[in-house]
Protein backbone atom coordinates (compact mmCIF):
# COMPACT_ATOMS: atom_id res chain seq x y z
CA UNK A 1 0.00 0.00 0.00
CA UNK A 2 1.19 3.48 -0.76
CA UNK A 3 2.08 5.80 2.07
CA UNK A 4 -0.81 8.14 1.25
CA UNK A 5 -4.30 7.64 -0.14
CA UNK A 6 -5.14 8.99 -3.60
CA UNK A 7 -7.18 11.72 -1.91
CA UNK A 8 -4.20 12.90 0.14
CA UNK A 9 -1.99 12.94 -2.95
CA UNK A 10 -4.69 14.78 -4.91
CA UNK A 11 -5.00 17.51 -2.26
CA UNK A 12 -1.20 17.68 -1.90
CA UNK A 13 -0.58 17.99 -5.63
CA UNK A 14 -3.55 20.28 -6.29
CA UNK A 15 -4.27 22.08 -3.05
CA UNK A 16 -7.68 23.82 -2.93
CA UNK A 17 -8.02 27.35 -1.58
CA UNK A 18 -4.31 28.04 -1.53
CA UNK A 19 -3.29 31.61 -0.76
CA UNK A 20 -4.07 34.64 1.34
CA UNK A 21 -7.14 36.82 2.00
CA UNK A 22 -5.80 40.34 2.51
CA UNK A 23 -8.91 41.70 4.29
CA UNK A 24 -9.71 38.51 6.19
CA UNK A 25 -12.27 38.61 9.00
CA UNK A 26 -10.42 35.92 10.91
CA UNK A 27 -6.85 34.64 10.76
CA UNK A 28 -5.45 31.67 12.69
CA UNK A 29 -1.93 30.31 12.79
CA UNK A 30 -0.90 27.15 14.64
CA UNK A 31 2.16 24.91 14.91
CA UNK A 32 5.83 25.81 14.90
CA UNK A 33 8.76 25.50 12.56
CA UNK A 34 10.75 23.47 15.07
CA UNK A 35 8.28 20.62 14.79
CA UNK A 36 8.05 21.05 11.06
CA UNK A 37 4.40 22.11 10.63
CA UNK A 38 2.78 25.54 10.52
CA UNK A 39 -0.70 26.24 9.20
CA UNK A 40 -2.26 29.61 8.62
CA UNK A 41 -5.97 30.00 7.80
CA UNK A 42 -7.70 33.10 6.46
CA UNK A 43 -11.50 33.43 6.64
CA UNK A 44 -13.94 35.80 4.95
CA UNK A 45 -17.21 35.74 6.82
CA UNK A 46 -20.50 37.36 5.86
CA UNK A 47 -23.50 37.16 8.11
CA UNK A 48 -21.93 34.30 10.08
CA UNK A 49 -21.38 32.31 6.91
CA UNK A 50 -17.87 31.45 5.72
CA UNK A 51 -17.88 32.85 2.21
CA UNK A 52 -14.20 32.37 1.48
CA UNK A 53 -11.26 30.58 3.03
CA UNK A 54 -7.58 30.42 2.07
CA UNK A 55 -4.58 28.74 3.62
CA UNK A 56 -0.81 28.71 3.73
CA UNK A 57 1.09 25.72 5.09
CA UNK A 58 4.68 24.88 5.92
CA UNK A 59 4.82 21.15 6.35
CA UNK A 60 4.71 17.72 4.83
CA UNK A 61 2.30 16.42 2.21
CA UNK A 62 -0.27 15.32 4.78
CA UNK A 63 -0.16 18.76 6.43
CA UNK A 64 -0.80 20.46 3.09
CA UNK A 65 -3.55 17.97 2.19
CA UNK A 66 -5.17 18.30 5.64
CA UNK A 67 -5.26 22.09 5.33
CA UNK A 68 -6.69 21.88 1.85
CA UNK A 69 -9.40 19.40 2.87
CA UNK A 70 -10.30 21.39 5.98
CA UNK A 71 -10.88 24.52 3.89
CA UNK A 72 -13.16 22.57 1.55
CA UNK A 73 -15.13 21.18 4.47
CA UNK A 74 -15.89 24.56 6.04
CA UNK A 75 -16.36 26.73 2.96
CA UNK A 76 -19.98 27.90 2.82
CA UNK A 77 -20.69 26.65 6.32
CA UNK A 78 -22.13 28.61 9.22
CA UNK A 79 -19.55 29.63 11.84
CA UNK A 80 -21.21 27.53 14.54
CA UNK A 81 -21.07 24.44 12.28
CA UNK A 82 -17.47 25.08 11.26
CA UNK A 83 -16.57 25.26 14.96
CA UNK A 84 -17.59 21.61 15.20
CA UNK A 85 -15.07 20.46 12.57
CA UNK A 86 -12.98 17.63 14.01
CA UNK A 87 -9.63 16.27 12.96
CA UNK A 88 -11.32 12.92 12.51
CA UNK A 89 -13.64 14.39 9.89
CA UNK A 90 -10.65 15.85 8.03
CA UNK A 91 -8.76 12.55 8.12
CA UNK A 92 -11.82 10.59 7.04
CA UNK A 93 -12.50 12.94 4.15
CA UNK A 94 -8.93 12.24 3.02
CA UNK A 95 -9.61 8.47 3.14
CA UNK A 96 -7.38 8.21 6.17
CA UNK A 97 -3.88 9.27 7.19
CA UNK A 98 -0.99 7.12 8.43
CA UNK A 99 -1.12 6.90 12.25
CA UNK A 100 1.99 9.03 12.74
CA UNK A 101 0.52 11.74 10.49
CA UNK A 102 -2.76 12.13 12.38
CA UNK A 103 -1.33 15.19 14.11
CA UNK A 104 -1.53 16.97 10.74
CA UNK A 105 -5.32 16.68 10.82
CA UNK A 106 -5.31 17.88 14.43
CA UNK A 107 -3.34 20.92 13.32
CA UNK A 108 -5.91 21.61 10.57
CA UNK A 109 -8.74 21.49 13.11
CA UNK A 110 -6.82 23.81 15.43
CA UNK A 111 -6.01 26.26 12.64
CA UNK A 112 -9.69 26.55 11.70
CA UNK A 113 -10.64 26.98 15.36
CA UNK A 114 -8.00 29.65 15.82
CA UNK A 115 -9.23 31.59 12.78
CA UNK A 116 -12.86 31.35 13.95
CA UNK A 117 -11.91 32.48 17.45
CA UNK A 118 -10.04 35.42 15.93
CA UNK A 119 -13.17 36.30 13.97
CA UNK A 120 -15.38 36.07 17.06
CA UNK A 121 -13.07 38.13 19.22
CA UNK A 122 -12.87 40.82 16.50
CA UNK A 123 -16.65 40.76 16.20
CA UNK A 124 -17.26 41.17 19.92
CA UNK A 125 -14.86 44.10 20.13
Amino acid sequence: MALYSDKVMDHFLQPRNLGVIEDADGVGEVGNAKCGDIMKMYLKIDDDIITDVKFETFGCASAIASSSMATELIKGQRVEDAMKLTNKAVAEALDGLPAYKMHCSVLAEEAIQAALEDYQSKKSN
Binding site: G19, A33, G36, F58
Partner: protein, 396 residues
Protein backbone atom coordinates in the same frame (compact mmCIF):
# COMPACT_ATOMS: atom_id res chain seq x y z
CA UNK B 1 12.82 11.46 -17.31
CA UNK B 2 13.44 8.91 -14.55
CA UNK B 3 16.45 9.55 -12.32
CA UNK B 4 17.31 7.37 -9.36
CA UNK B 5 19.19 9.71 -7.03
CA UNK B 6 18.99 7.73 -3.80
CA UNK B 7 22.03 5.49 -4.11
CA UNK B 8 22.99 6.15 -0.48
CA UNK B 9 19.76 4.36 0.50
CA UNK B 10 20.34 1.45 -1.82
CA UNK B 11 21.65 0.75 -5.30
CA UNK B 12 20.39 -1.15 -8.27
CA UNK B 13 22.11 -4.54 -8.53
CA UNK B 14 24.68 -4.76 -11.28
CA UNK B 15 24.18 -7.28 -14.09
CA UNK B 16 27.26 -9.14 -12.89
CA UNK B 17 25.78 -9.36 -9.38
CA UNK B 18 22.43 -10.65 -10.65
CA UNK B 19 24.20 -13.11 -12.92
CA UNK B 20 26.42 -14.43 -10.11
CA UNK B 21 23.45 -14.78 -7.79
CA UNK B 22 21.15 -16.61 -10.19
CA UNK B 23 23.97 -18.88 -11.36
CA UNK B 24 24.70 -19.82 -7.77
CA UNK B 25 21.03 -20.41 -7.00
CA UNK B 26 20.65 -22.66 -10.03
CA UNK B 27 23.90 -24.54 -9.91
CA UNK B 28 25.58 -24.33 -6.52
CA UNK B 29 22.76 -25.04 -4.13
CA UNK B 30 24.68 -27.38 -1.83
CA UNK B 31 25.36 -26.57 1.79
CA UNK B 32 29.00 -25.58 2.25
CA UNK B 33 29.08 -27.67 5.44
CA UNK B 34 28.17 -30.89 3.55
CA UNK B 35 30.88 -33.34 2.66
CA UNK B 36 29.70 -34.56 -0.76
CA UNK B 37 30.92 -32.86 -3.89
CA UNK B 38 27.92 -30.56 -4.30
CA UNK B 39 28.50 -29.23 -0.79
CA UNK B 40 32.21 -28.94 -1.30
CA UNK B 41 31.67 -27.03 -4.52
CA UNK B 42 29.65 -24.54 -2.51
CA UNK B 43 32.40 -24.40 0.11
CA UNK B 44 34.92 -23.69 -2.63
CA UNK B 45 32.80 -20.82 -3.96
CA UNK B 46 32.44 -19.45 -0.46
CA UNK B 47 36.16 -19.43 0.22
CA UNK B 48 36.91 -18.04 -3.22
CA UNK B 49 34.55 -15.15 -2.43
CA UNK B 50 36.21 -14.64 0.93
CA UNK B 51 39.63 -14.41 -0.73
CA UNK B 52 38.40 -11.91 -3.29
CA UNK B 53 36.67 -9.72 -0.72
CA UNK B 54 39.71 -9.80 1.56
CA UNK B 55 41.99 -8.80 -1.31
CA UNK B 56 39.90 -5.70 -2.04
CA UNK B 57 40.58 -4.25 1.44
CA UNK B 58 44.06 -5.78 1.83
CA UNK B 59 42.99 -8.21 4.55
CA UNK B 60 43.49 -11.96 4.95
CA UNK B 61 40.57 -14.25 4.07
CA UNK B 62 40.33 -15.51 7.66
CA UNK B 63 39.72 -11.95 8.82
CA UNK B 64 36.41 -11.74 6.90
CA UNK B 65 33.10 -12.77 8.50
CA UNK B 66 30.09 -12.81 6.18
CA UNK B 67 27.01 -11.22 7.74
CA UNK B 68 23.51 -10.06 6.80
CA UNK B 69 24.71 -6.50 6.16
CA UNK B 70 25.89 -3.26 7.69
CA UNK B 71 23.74 -3.24 10.80
CA UNK B 72 24.71 -6.75 11.84
CA UNK B 73 28.37 -6.03 11.17
CA UNK B 74 28.22 -2.85 13.25
CA UNK B 75 26.48 -4.67 16.11
CA UNK B 76 29.00 -7.49 16.13
CA UNK B 77 31.98 -5.15 15.94
CA UNK B 78 30.81 -3.10 18.90
CA UNK B 79 29.90 -6.13 20.95
CA UNK B 80 33.31 -7.64 20.18
CA UNK B 81 35.23 -4.58 21.31
CA UNK B 82 33.01 -4.07 24.35
CA UNK B 83 33.19 -7.62 25.69
CA UNK B 84 36.91 -7.91 25.00
CA UNK B 85 37.45 -4.50 26.61
CA UNK B 86 35.49 -5.35 29.71
CA UNK B 87 37.66 -8.44 30.26
CA UNK B 88 40.58 -6.01 30.62
CA UNK B 89 38.65 -3.52 32.74
CA UNK B 90 38.19 -1.11 29.84
CA UNK B 91 34.66 0.22 29.47
CA UNK B 92 35.02 3.55 27.65
CA UNK B 93 34.02 3.92 23.99
CA UNK B 94 34.56 6.90 21.68
CA UNK B 95 32.40 7.54 18.65
CA UNK B 96 31.01 10.49 16.72
CA UNK B 97 27.72 12.34 17.04
CA UNK B 98 26.53 11.52 13.54
CA UNK B 99 27.06 7.78 13.25
CA UNK B 100 24.44 5.53 11.73
CA UNK B 101 21.76 4.34 14.16
CA UNK B 102 23.20 0.81 13.94
CA UNK B 103 26.13 2.30 15.88
CA UNK B 104 24.36 4.89 18.04
CA UNK B 105 21.58 2.61 19.22
CA UNK B 106 24.07 -0.16 20.01
CA UNK B 107 26.11 2.35 21.99
CA UNK B 108 22.97 3.33 23.92
CA UNK B 109 22.49 -0.29 24.83
CA UNK B 110 26.11 -0.63 25.94
CA UNK B 111 25.75 2.54 27.99
CA UNK B 112 22.84 0.97 29.84
CA UNK B 113 25.12 -1.99 30.51
CA UNK B 114 27.81 0.01 32.22
CA UNK B 115 29.89 1.41 29.37
CA UNK B 116 30.77 5.06 29.16
CA UNK B 117 30.33 6.69 25.77
CA UNK B 118 31.99 9.84 24.42
CA UNK B 119 30.55 11.22 21.19
CA UNK B 120 32.94 13.53 19.36
CA UNK B 121 31.48 16.64 17.74
CA UNK B 122 31.52 16.65 13.95
CA UNK B 123 31.54 20.43 13.55
CA UNK B 124 29.98 22.47 10.78
CA UNK B 125 31.82 20.67 8.00
CA UNK B 126 30.83 17.20 9.23
CA UNK B 127 34.36 16.03 10.01
CA UNK B 128 35.78 15.09 13.40
CA UNK B 129 38.95 16.77 14.66
CA UNK B 130 41.94 14.58 15.37
CA UNK B 131 43.10 16.58 18.39
CA UNK B 132 39.67 16.18 19.96
CA UNK B 133 39.83 12.45 19.31
CA UNK B 134 43.26 12.10 20.83
CA UNK B 135 42.39 14.04 23.95
CA UNK B 136 39.22 11.96 24.42
CA UNK B 137 41.23 8.71 24.59
CA UNK B 138 41.67 7.44 28.16
CA UNK B 139 43.40 4.57 29.91
CA UNK B 140 40.12 2.64 29.92
CA UNK B 141 39.13 3.33 26.30
CA UNK B 142 38.47 0.00 24.58
CA UNK B 143 37.13 1.22 21.23
CA UNK B 144 37.03 4.13 18.80
CA UNK B 145 34.29 3.73 16.20
CA UNK B 146 34.00 6.41 13.51
CA UNK B 147 32.28 5.98 10.16
CA UNK B 148 34.38 6.25 7.01
CA UNK B 149 31.79 8.32 5.14
CA UNK B 150 28.52 9.69 6.42
CA UNK B 151 25.34 8.28 4.90
CA UNK B 152 23.44 11.57 4.81
CA UNK B 153 25.93 14.30 4.03
CA UNK B 154 28.65 12.09 2.57
CA UNK B 155 31.53 13.65 4.48
CA UNK B 156 34.69 11.54 4.59
CA UNK B 157 36.61 11.17 7.84
CA UNK B 158 40.43 11.07 8.06
CA UNK B 159 40.43 7.31 8.59
CA UNK B 160 44.17 6.63 8.25
CA UNK B 161 44.97 9.38 10.75
CA UNK B 162 42.34 8.09 13.18
CA UNK B 163 43.81 4.61 12.79
CA UNK B 164 47.28 5.89 13.53
CA UNK B 165 46.16 7.64 16.71
CA UNK B 166 44.32 4.53 17.89
CA UNK B 167 47.33 2.34 17.17
CA UNK B 168 49.58 4.70 19.10
CA UNK B 169 47.30 4.47 22.14
CA UNK B 170 46.59 0.75 21.83
CA UNK B 171 42.86 1.28 21.25
CA UNK B 172 40.80 -0.87 18.87
CA UNK B 173 39.54 1.10 15.86
CA UNK B 174 36.33 0.14 14.08
CA UNK B 175 34.88 1.96 11.10
CA UNK B 176 31.40 1.68 9.65
CA UNK B 177 32.43 1.78 5.99
CA UNK B 178 29.01 0.94 4.61
CA UNK B 179 28.93 4.07 2.42
CA UNK B 180 32.59 3.79 1.51
CA UNK B 181 33.35 0.22 0.45
CA UNK B 182 33.25 0.05 -3.34
CA UNK B 183 33.34 3.86 -3.52
CA UNK B 184 36.60 4.80 -1.79
CA UNK B 185 39.94 3.00 -1.71
CA UNK B 186 40.31 1.01 1.51
CA UNK B 187 43.44 -0.65 2.82
CA UNK B 188 42.93 -1.92 6.36
CA UNK B 189 46.66 -2.31 6.93
CA UNK B 190 47.77 1.07 5.62
CA UNK B 191 44.85 2.77 7.41
CA UNK B 192 45.32 0.83 10.67
CA UNK B 193 41.73 -0.36 10.73
CA UNK B 194 41.03 -3.13 13.24
CA UNK B 195 37.40 -3.78 12.32
CA UNK B 196 35.30 -2.65 9.36
CA UNK B 197 31.64 -3.04 8.41
CA UNK B 198 30.35 -3.27 4.84
CA UNK B 199 27.04 -3.84 3.11
CA UNK B 200 26.60 -5.24 -0.40
CA UNK B 201 23.54 -3.29 -1.47
CA UNK B 202 25.40 0.02 -1.28
CA UNK B 203 27.71 -1.00 -4.12
CA UNK B 204 25.26 -2.65 -6.54
CA UNK B 205 25.20 -5.96 -4.70
CA UNK B 206 22.20 -7.66 -3.11
CA UNK B 207 20.36 -6.62 0.06
CA UNK B 208 20.73 -8.75 3.16
CA UNK B 209 24.43 -9.43 2.62
CA UNK B 210 27.52 -7.82 4.04
CA UNK B 211 30.74 -8.55 5.84
CA UNK B 212 32.72 -7.65 8.88
CA UNK B 213 36.50 -7.49 8.84
CA UNK B 214 38.09 -8.31 12.18
CA UNK B 215 41.87 -8.04 12.36
CA UNK B 216 43.77 -11.17 13.34
CA UNK B 217 44.48 -10.96 17.07
CA UNK B 218 41.02 -9.67 17.98
CA UNK B 219 38.64 -12.44 19.06
CA UNK B 220 35.22 -11.84 17.51
CA UNK B 221 32.24 -12.20 19.84
CA UNK B 222 29.12 -13.86 18.48
CA UNK B 223 25.82 -12.15 17.90
CA UNK B 224 24.34 -15.35 16.51
CA UNK B 225 25.10 -18.63 18.23
CA UNK B 226 24.69 -22.01 16.60
CA UNK B 227 26.67 -24.00 14.07
CA UNK B 228 30.34 -23.73 13.21
CA UNK B 229 29.96 -21.53 10.13
CA UNK B 230 32.34 -18.57 9.77
CA UNK B 231 34.88 -20.24 12.07
CA UNK B 232 32.21 -20.44 14.74
CA UNK B 233 31.82 -16.66 14.88
CA UNK B 234 28.56 -16.28 12.99
CA UNK B 235 26.19 -19.23 12.95
CA UNK B 236 23.67 -20.02 10.23
CA UNK B 237 24.00 -21.61 6.80
CA UNK B 238 25.88 -19.17 4.64
CA UNK B 239 23.91 -17.01 2.20
CA UNK B 240 26.06 -18.21 -0.67
CA UNK B 241 24.04 -16.64 -3.54
CA UNK B 242 24.26 -13.32 -1.72
CA UNK B 243 27.95 -13.70 -0.95
CA UNK B 244 29.03 -14.54 -4.50
CA UNK B 245 26.79 -11.80 -5.82
CA UNK B 246 28.30 -9.27 -3.41
CA UNK B 247 31.76 -10.35 -4.50
CA UNK B 248 30.94 -9.86 -8.18
CA UNK B 249 29.50 -6.41 -7.43
CA UNK B 250 32.47 -5.36 -5.34
CA UNK B 251 35.04 -6.42 -7.91
CA UNK B 252 33.23 -4.40 -10.53
CA UNK B 253 32.84 -1.38 -8.24
CA UNK B 254 36.51 -1.35 -7.34
CA UNK B 255 37.63 -1.79 -10.94
CA UNK B 256 35.65 1.26 -12.03
CA UNK B 257 36.12 3.31 -8.87
CA UNK B 258 38.64 5.87 -10.01
CA UNK B 259 36.90 6.64 -13.27
CA UNK B 260 33.43 6.67 -11.67
CA UNK B 261 34.53 9.00 -8.90
CA UNK B 262 36.13 11.43 -11.33
CA UNK B 263 32.89 11.58 -13.31
CA UNK B 264 30.49 11.68 -10.37
CA UNK B 265 32.37 14.34 -8.42
CA UNK B 266 32.28 16.57 -11.48
CA UNK B 267 28.49 16.15 -11.77
CA UNK B 268 28.14 16.54 -7.99
CA UNK B 269 29.95 19.89 -8.06
CA UNK B 270 27.83 20.95 -11.02
CA UNK B 271 24.60 20.15 -9.12
CA UNK B 272 25.94 21.87 -5.99
CA UNK B 273 26.71 25.04 -7.90
CA UNK B 274 23.30 24.91 -9.61
CA UNK B 275 21.37 24.49 -6.36
CA UNK B 276 23.48 27.16 -4.66
CA UNK B 277 21.69 29.67 -6.89
CA UNK B 278 18.52 29.06 -4.87
CA UNK B 279 18.32 31.92 -2.36
CA UNK B 280 18.54 31.05 1.33
CA UNK B 281 19.84 27.56 0.80
CA UNK B 282 23.02 25.89 2.00
CA UNK B 283 25.07 22.81 1.25
CA UNK B 284 25.29 20.47 4.23
CA UNK B 285 28.77 19.10 4.91
CA UNK B 286 32.20 19.83 3.54
CA UNK B 287 32.09 20.72 -0.18
CA UNK B 288 35.13 18.62 -1.14
CA UNK B 289 35.72 15.98 1.55
CA UNK B 290 32.56 14.15 0.56
CA UNK B 291 31.46 11.11 -1.42
CA UNK B 292 31.57 11.67 -5.16
CA UNK B 293 27.81 11.16 -5.57
CA UNK B 294 26.50 13.04 -2.53
CA UNK B 295 24.66 16.37 -2.59
CA UNK B 296 22.80 17.46 0.55
CA UNK B 297 21.08 20.83 0.79
CA UNK B 298 18.90 22.70 3.26
CA UNK B 299 16.29 25.11 1.91
CA UNK B 300 14.85 27.60 4.32
CA UNK B 301 11.09 28.03 4.77
CA UNK B 302 9.94 24.64 3.50
CA UNK B 303 9.69 21.05 4.64
CA UNK B 304 11.53 18.12 3.06
CA UNK B 305 8.77 15.59 2.52
CA UNK B 306 6.94 17.87 0.12
CA UNK B 307 10.15 18.31 -1.87
CA UNK B 308 10.57 14.54 -2.16
CA UNK B 309 7.03 13.78 -3.22
CA UNK B 310 6.99 16.55 -5.82
CA UNK B 311 10.37 15.44 -7.18
CA UNK B 312 8.97 11.91 -7.34
CA UNK B 313 6.16 13.24 -9.54
CA UNK B 314 8.88 14.60 -11.83
CA UNK B 315 10.63 11.23 -11.95
CA UNK B 316 13.39 11.93 -9.44
CA UNK B 317 13.92 9.63 -6.44
CA UNK B 318 15.66 11.40 -3.56
CA UNK B 319 15.69 11.52 0.23
CA UNK B 320 15.33 14.03 3.07
CA UNK B 321 16.39 14.46 6.66
CA UNK B 322 13.06 15.96 7.65
CA UNK B 323 11.22 14.47 10.62
CA UNK B 324 8.16 13.84 8.47
CA UNK B 325 9.98 11.39 6.24
CA UNK B 326 11.15 9.28 9.14
CA UNK B 327 8.04 9.13 11.25
CA UNK B 328 10.00 10.73 14.08
CA UNK B 329 9.49 14.11 15.70
CA UNK B 330 13.05 15.29 15.31
CA UNK B 331 14.79 15.90 12.03
CA UNK B 332 17.98 14.07 11.11
CA UNK B 333 20.50 13.73 13.95
CA UNK B 334 23.21 14.21 11.34
CA UNK B 335 21.97 17.67 10.36
CA UNK B 336 21.50 18.64 14.00
CA UNK B 337 25.06 17.41 14.70
CA UNK B 338 26.52 19.79 12.10
CA UNK B 339 24.65 22.65 13.75
CA UNK B 340 21.60 23.01 11.52
CA UNK B 341 18.74 24.04 13.78
CA UNK B 342 15.40 22.22 13.53
CA UNK B 343 13.72 24.84 11.30
CA UNK B 344 16.34 24.39 8.62
CA UNK B 345 17.04 20.68 9.10
CA UNK B 346 13.40 19.93 8.21
CA UNK B 347 13.91 21.44 4.77
CA UNK B 348 16.71 19.21 3.62
CA UNK B 349 17.22 17.21 0.47
CA UNK B 350 19.75 14.46 -0.19
CA UNK B 351 20.58 13.51 -3.74
CA UNK B 352 22.95 10.57 -4.08
CA UNK B 353 23.55 10.11 -7.78
CA UNK B 354 24.79 6.95 -9.44
CA UNK B 355 27.80 6.23 -11.65
CA UNK B 356 25.77 6.60 -14.84
CA UNK B 357 24.45 10.11 -14.07
CA UNK B 358 24.65 12.43 -17.09
CA UNK B 359 25.02 16.18 -17.38
CA UNK B 360 21.53 16.38 -18.91
CA UNK B 361 20.08 14.56 -15.92
CA UNK B 362 21.94 16.93 -13.62
CA UNK B 363 20.38 19.88 -15.47
CA UNK B 364 16.96 18.31 -15.09
CA UNK B 365 17.56 17.74 -11.35
CA UNK B 366 18.67 21.35 -10.83
CA UNK B 367 15.68 22.76 -12.75
CA UNK B 368 13.22 20.46 -10.96
CA UNK B 369 14.52 21.24 -7.47
CA UNK B 370 14.42 24.97 -8.21
CA UNK B 371 10.82 24.67 -9.39
CA UNK B 372 9.74 22.61 -6.38
CA UNK B 373 11.42 24.86 -3.82
CA UNK B 374 9.88 27.96 -5.38
CA UNK B 375 6.44 26.35 -5.45
CA UNK B 376 6.50 25.16 -1.83
CA UNK B 377 7.78 28.53 -0.68
CA UNK B 378 4.93 30.27 -2.53
CA UNK B 379 2.45 29.12 0.12
CA UNK B 380 4.67 28.68 3.17
CA UNK B 381 3.74 30.99 6.06
CA UNK B 382 7.32 30.66 7.30
CA UNK B 383 8.71 31.87 3.99
CA UNK B 384 6.20 34.77 4.06
CA UNK B 385 7.38 35.81 7.54
CA UNK B 386 11.00 35.57 6.41
CA UNK B 387 10.52 37.64 3.26
CA UNK B 388 8.35 40.21 5.05
CA UNK B 389 11.07 40.64 7.66
CA UNK B 390 9.00 39.30 10.55
CA UNK B 391 11.57 36.57 11.04
CA UNK B 392 15.29 36.52 10.43
CA UNK B 393 16.77 34.27 7.79
CA UNK B 394 19.04 31.58 9.15
CA UNK B 395 20.58 30.70 5.79
CA UNK B 396 21.81 33.93 4.27
Amino acid sequence: MQIYADNAATTKMSEAAVEAMTDCMRNVYGNPSSLYRLGQKAKEKLEEAREEIAAVINASPREIIFTSGGSESDNQALLTAALNGRKNGKTHIISSAFEHHAILHTLNKLEKNGFEITLLPVHENGIIRLDELESAIREDTCLVTVMTANNEIGTIQPIAEIGEICKKHGVVFHTDAVQAVGHLPIDVKAQNIDMLSASAHKFHGPKGTGFLYVRKGIIPQNLIEGGAQERGKRAGTENLPGIVSMTAALKEAVAGMEQNNAHMSQIRDYIISGLSEIPHSALNGDPKQRLAGNVNFSFEGIEGEGILLLLDQMGISASSGSACTSGALDPSHVLLAIGRIHDVAHGSLRLSVGEDITKEEADYIIASVKKVVEYLRSFSPVWRDLTEGKKEFILK
